[in-house]
């Protein structure tokens, strides 16, 4: 219950529940467009990647790109969704200069992928399920450039005809964080499968967000669709603004108009793009230039067999095989490269005679990934090879360094100073395990602090104070295991 209550937003007249559904547009990672064979690529000059078909010259006809179909099937399988062996392409008719044909070829009635579902992790490691209504293939439009000339709009058709997968969710999300987590999960799955590179900065993955509000448990409210939001942060900001806007209107006695809205990331607000009355009548009908798309069941089965290990399965395996927490495993699987890095570090550790995979995971998630993401990087940009993480953990397992010193060693590793054992040598960071020396220090400390000694005898958890003092006295080089042992013996706990 508290979980649900957390997500509600408080209005003047009471709590409101946000209901969110997403349409994610993911560009198929294909070198060629969906129906024209023209090249797809980022950074080409305007209109350099346009074929006669893309420019809709008279008499040109679309021919489906088999590779794109395969990617849609792979994505569908990754979403645990029904693959429709028979699907169809429809025309969505509207006029715009960046839509040369005057229609977009899409799948309206019979999509290639039907119902599926995705398990999504919240930041706290708990999970929820989002239903996927469908995934369909469609063409992207070109790009209108309004800022090149005061009196004209320029059109770049490079993107026109590029293959997109539109993934439509059920209205199963209840707060901005859940929506962002869902997009993250879809992105992860698509990247695992290789169907989309998930590059949101280039617009290769973007979302339309449907937002409505209602009293908890009431019927669904009227929704507004926020178009083309292309970062996790913007998705959350757009939802938060839009939900508040809707609550205010309703609380002021107004009604929500079903409409399409745009998110202004500068002003952090949404504004109306077109109302329901202005909505296009797209006059969908089956594209007569294309035959129904019939898939061979064996072909789909082959694709299924060729899929890599998917995020959910990998998460379960990492938990089972290495004893990782749900949280650590969840962080590790966001990119398959992270899990690969982790697993190769563990393998190196095992080869060196070590075993503490959880400790490896700690360094990867808490140190390495945190530092990388602070710089906006992913694991592939790591300055530290996986084998060195293994080396560091081995030093800890062998008691050569304490956890505190290990952090220092890690700083040096991060700075590119090389393998951990060398760093320990160079900087003289080896841990003090000489029990004789430690016993002396500890005896002196107990003698000097009788009140603390009594307190620890009462409440053994307070031993930390003495550990800290020992560390201080040894410059952090004392082996915490030995320190604890000697302290316990001397304090009789």
């Amino acid at each position: 219950m508290t979980e649900t209550a957390d997500k509600l937003i408080q209005g003047r007249t009471g709590p409101w529940e946000i209901v969110l559904g997403l349409e994610i547009h993911a560009q198929v990672a294909s070198k060629a467009k969906l129906f024209s064979g023209a090249a797809v690529g980022f950074g080409a000059g305007p209109n350099e990647q346009v074929s006669l078909v893309d420019a809709a010259m008279p008499g040109m006809l679309p021919v489906i790109n088999r590779f794109c179909v395969e990617q849609a099937v792979r994505a569908g399988l990754g979403l645990n969704a029904q693959i429709n062996l028979k699907s169809r392409f429809d025309r969505k008719n509207y006029f715009y200069p960046d839509l040369p044909q005057g229609y977009q070829i899409s799948q309206f009635k019979d999509p290639i992928v039907g119902e599926g579902e995705v398990e999504v992790e919240r930041d706290d490691g708990s999970t929820f399920v989002v239903g996927v209504e469908r995934l369909h293939l469609e063409q992207d439009a070109g790009k209108s450039l309004h800022d090149q000339d005061p009196n004209a709009t320029y059109v770049d058709l490079n993107r026109a005809g590029t293959a997109l997968m539109e993934i439509v969710s059920r209205p199963d999300m209840r707060c901005a964080e859940e929506a962002a987590a869902y997009v993250k999960k879809i992105r992860t799955i698509l990247r695992y499968i290789g169907a989309c590179d998930g590059d949101m900065e280039k617009g290769n993955l973007r979302a339309d967000v449907n937002v409505s509000v209602r009293r908890p448990g009431a019927e669904l409210g009227t929704r507004c669709e926020i178009k083309n939001v292309n970062s996790y942060r913007h998705i959350q900001q757009a939802i938060e603004y839009e939900a508040r806007r809707q609550v205010e209107i309703i609380e002021d006695g107004g009604k929500i108009d079903q409409e399409t809205r745009l998110f202004d990331s500068g002003k952090l607000e949404t504004r109306s793009m077109r109302s329901k009355e202005e909505a296009h009548d797209y006059r969908y009908f089956p594209d007569p230039d294309l035959l129904p798309l019939i898939l061979d069941a064996d072909w789909v089965e082959q694709i299924k067999k060729s899929l890599p290990e998917l995020p959910d399965a990998k998460k379960k395996r990492l938990q089972g095989q290495y004893g990782l927490s749900a949280y650590d495993a969840g962080v590790m699987i966001i990119e398959s490269a992270r899990a690969d890095y982790f697993e190769s570090a563990v393998a190196a550790l095992k080869a060196a005679g070590g075993s503490d995979a959880k400790l490896v995971a700690n360094y990867v998630t808490n140190e390495l990934l945190q530092r990388l993401s602070a710089d906006g990087h992913e694991i592939d940009a790591s300055p530290i090879p996986a084998a060195d993480i293994a080396g560091l953990v081995k030093l800890r397992e062998d008691g050569v360094v304490s956890s505190k010193i290990a952090k220092e060693v890690f700083d040096h590793m991060w700075a590119g100073e090389g393998a951990p054992y060398q760093i320990v040598e160079t900087h003289g960071l080896k841990q003090e395990s000489d029990t004789g020396a430690l016993e002396g220090i500890i005896a002196a400390l107990i003698a000097a602090n009788p009140a603390q000694a009594d307190a620890v005898k009462e409440k053994p958890q307070a031993i930390g104070w003495f550990v800290g003092q020992v560390m201080k006295a040894t410059g952090g080089k004392a082996n915490p295991g030995s320190v604890n042992e000697i302290l316990k013996a001397k304090l009789g706990i």
Binding site: L52, A55, A56, M57, P58, G59, M60, L61, P62, V63, I64, R91, N93, F95, P97, P100, Q101, G102, Y103, T153, V155, D281, R283, Y284, F285, P288, D289, L290, L291
Partner: protein, 490 residues
Amino acid sequence: MSGLTDLTLKAALDGLASKAFSSEEITRAHIAAIEAARALNAYVLETPEKAIEMARASDARRASGDAGALDGAPLGIKDLFCTEGVRSTACSNIIGNFVPTYESSVTTRLWRAGAVMLGKLNMDEFAMGSSNESSAFGPVTNPWRAKGSNRPLTPGGSSGGSAAAVAADLCLGATATDTGGSIRQPAGFTGTVGIKPTYGRCSRWGIVAFASSLDQAGPIAKTVEDAAILLTSMAGHDVKDSTSLSVDVPDFASFVGKDVKGLRIGIPGEYRLDGLQPEIAALWDQGVAWLKDAGCEIVDISLPHTKYALPAYYIIAPAEASSNLARYDGMRFGRREEGTNLTETYENTRASGFGAEVKRRILIGTYVLSAGYYDAYYLKALKVRRRIAEDFTAAFHKVDAILTPTAPSAAFPIGEKSDDPVAMYLNDVFTVTTNLAGLPGLSLPAGQSSDGLPLGLQLIGRPLDEGTLFSLAGAMEKARGVMARPDRWW
């Protein structure tokens, strides 16, 4: 050498093969004939220099012994086909002076077979019409005139230029296209042979689209054999057209002259419309008699959904057209009429660029696809379409081919039906069914009306069974004997 234009394609190819004359000679003869026949308005673009260049290249090939199936034969090309470097307009102002950088798949095949292009042929704008009157270049005049009259007649449409050019010996044969009868009805009106092959036989790539699920290219020719020769070169699988059929193309000419004894010919009762002109009915009976004499078995059949075909066609074809013609928006090529904003530019461009009939069909098509009407019109029409196809499937269990009239009348005067679209649409009543069902249909001249105008009969075949149609048409052509020719009044 004016006699060279009188030749059939077959005779011309034989003459070229035996070196009785050169391609340049027969091409020049046609160029001269075209110049002399401008009153017909059959050609919207003459390409004599290109023709002579192609003819010389053909003569060189013949000299070196590697001539193709159509080598040296001068042909006319309907302006719906995109031809590389040669203006292609679909006879619409909105396409304007568009010069494609590409060649349609069908014409590519013809040039590969060695044919020579004389120019681009007039047609109804975007192939929408049954009289060639909707062309931006003005109507074509039928070479035929009613006995004792100088009143100009239409050659039918939309391939009116193709049919008139063949009938007037302005080419040895022509390409044409047929969405609801646009090859067969003009062939019927001009005493020529036209075949719309099975949907998917000829690639649609590079042909300006009217209604994609119905459009098919085919030839208009002087004889059944000529039509068979041309279709053999035009047809064939094309990976650039997803609806193109991956099947072998037989030598269609080999079917002409084949014995038709024992073939069962269906006569659909539903085509005997109320008010069918007596001379059309008599012509039909004559065709039945010829086939009976040739040893065919005549079988009465029923195609019960026939009466719904025309309404269904005039929903489906405009629906597809309304979408296919959206690309003519003044943005990338062709005509553009600036407005003060984008919507106005679209409106001005399309209002001034499209002719009245095309606008009518775009409006109809937009209407039947719009929310709230889709189910009642478009979806219903698709269901009718399926029923019509099922009617034919059932009939072809009992018969090998079907015989009907091509059109409900002979050629009519220019202007007679131009104010009455429904009367105009009724021209397609016998032909649209094969487009809806994707079947091959062939029209051949079978006789003349009381005032001397040609009349055609239509043979409809099973999918991909054009061969049987050529055999039957060949037998009927033989029984008919020599057809009269139009007087050269031009």
